[in-house]
Symmetry: C2
Subunit: 219 residues, 2 copies
DNA sequence: GCGATAATCAATAATTACATTGAATCGTTG
DNA sequence: CAACGATTCAATGTAATTATTGATTATCGC
């Protein structure tokens, strides 16, 4: 009566995708890969995990159709299999934020407490970039900046923020961004900048989403 | 330097959501709940699983913020925690369909082979319903029809299709729908109707998506 | 209150997922 | 072609998931 065999086969494949997403460090890998293709060593370094472990996670994700790999010289470069992957992760985050009490608590308590202002949208930033009325700050580590950033953005990693304040024009609004909606770095940067008397705001989401939205990337 | 503690806590919650989605029969439960709230017994019956098993799956999903439960008399009624849940499942299905060879094969081979025509969109069906120029067929089992269906739709379960052909006006186009994009029933119905000389098409997706899109539901 | 029905809980055994270790490939570079 | 670096593979023990069973709680109708 109902469809049994092909349907189960499909659902098992869907489940494989979801199950493979169901691991915090694999989500972190996706966050990294969302910023651009990376090789295994670098990813292992970023996550602070043994290389073999990361390699196995990446292979599991490859089997689930989440990432793709390509050999380049002695490196194996991994990248997201398609932009759909980021969309799926975002959809899951949305469910968690809406329905899991703890997530809501952390997000509202730890994140938004430090930033009562609305973030600036990607489109708005684009147009203000053309006008030249903003300073854009990429507060990620230097290597992530090097692999792709918003055109014209200055790379000022969080740790160097205070030391490099003098490079900023106090008259211009500062827009900070980092890895994505659940990365605290841009929140932290905005909070500190405001304390210093700057007019500062966050960019909506972060780098992976900027690239995924088809905005230009400079490297 | 980077955010460690609150971020890991968040990612673990996200992973919990994804991991909980990573089970074929839990996806089936979500498909059922996407059609409307249900109690445990009925769900167990639909899936052909022991009640205790379904109950445990439902509780796991409740812990992950996917479903919500409410006691009504001696029944416990479960429902999707939010429409986001369907969106997340769809995003995962999209990843699977795009990047997993086997899924693409099954979908194209088993499903689309039987339906070379484009499905009709929800909005188009709405407007043609107002004009009265279509017959809408709900080919799901009677009990699922009873719990909510497209206004004006006739309930003709697949098994009874041939027996009830006479009730259809051969001059009108027939639109069939069932549980969703990966349910074969409407494909099957359309194929048989065409063989009988009817002009038949599928509705895009199915009931859960119809309801999730805010379209009217009759019960 | 007493059965009857709906659902959950508790305990188990089987399976699967995971991190870790050290060895084995693969490609480059001297 | 040998040595090296990047990655994968294979094997291990541990932990987490899962289905199943039977017992237990909650609610209704009488």
């Amino acid at each position: 009566m109902s469809s049994t065999s092909p349907k189960l086969a499909l659902f098992e494949q869907f489940a494989l995708v979801a199950k493979t997403l169901g691991h915090p460090q694999r989500l972190e890998l996706i966050e990294q890969l969302g910023q651009g293709p990376r090789h295994v060593d670098l990813l292992a370094d970023k996550l602070g995990l043994p290389i073999a472990n990361v390699s196995q996670h990446l292979q599991a994700m490859r089997r689930a159709g989440l990432v793709a790999a390509e050999r380049q010289g002695k490196y194996v470069i991994y990248r997201l299999a398609s932009p759909d992957v980021l969309a799926a992760v975002q959809a899951i985050q949305q469910v968690a934020e809406a329905n899991l009490a703890e997530v809501g608590r952390v997000v509202r308590g730890y994140f938004y407490q430090r930033d009562c202002l609305e973030p600036i949208s990607r489109d708005e930033l684009q147009s203000r970039l053309r006008d030249g009325t903003v300073t854009v700050l990429d507060v990620r580590p230097a290597d992530e900046y090097a692999l792709g950033h918003v055109p014209g953005a200055l790379n000022v990693p969080l740790g160097e923020l205070e030391a490099r304040l003098s490079a900023l024009d106090p008259a211009q609004e500062v827009i900070a961004y980092c890895r994505g909606p659940y990365c605290v770095m841009s929140f932290e940067a905005v909070a500190r900048l405001r304390q210093m008397g700057f007019s500062a705001r966050r960019l909506q989401d972060g780098m992976p989403e900027w690239a995924a939205a088809g905005q230009p990337v400079e490297s």
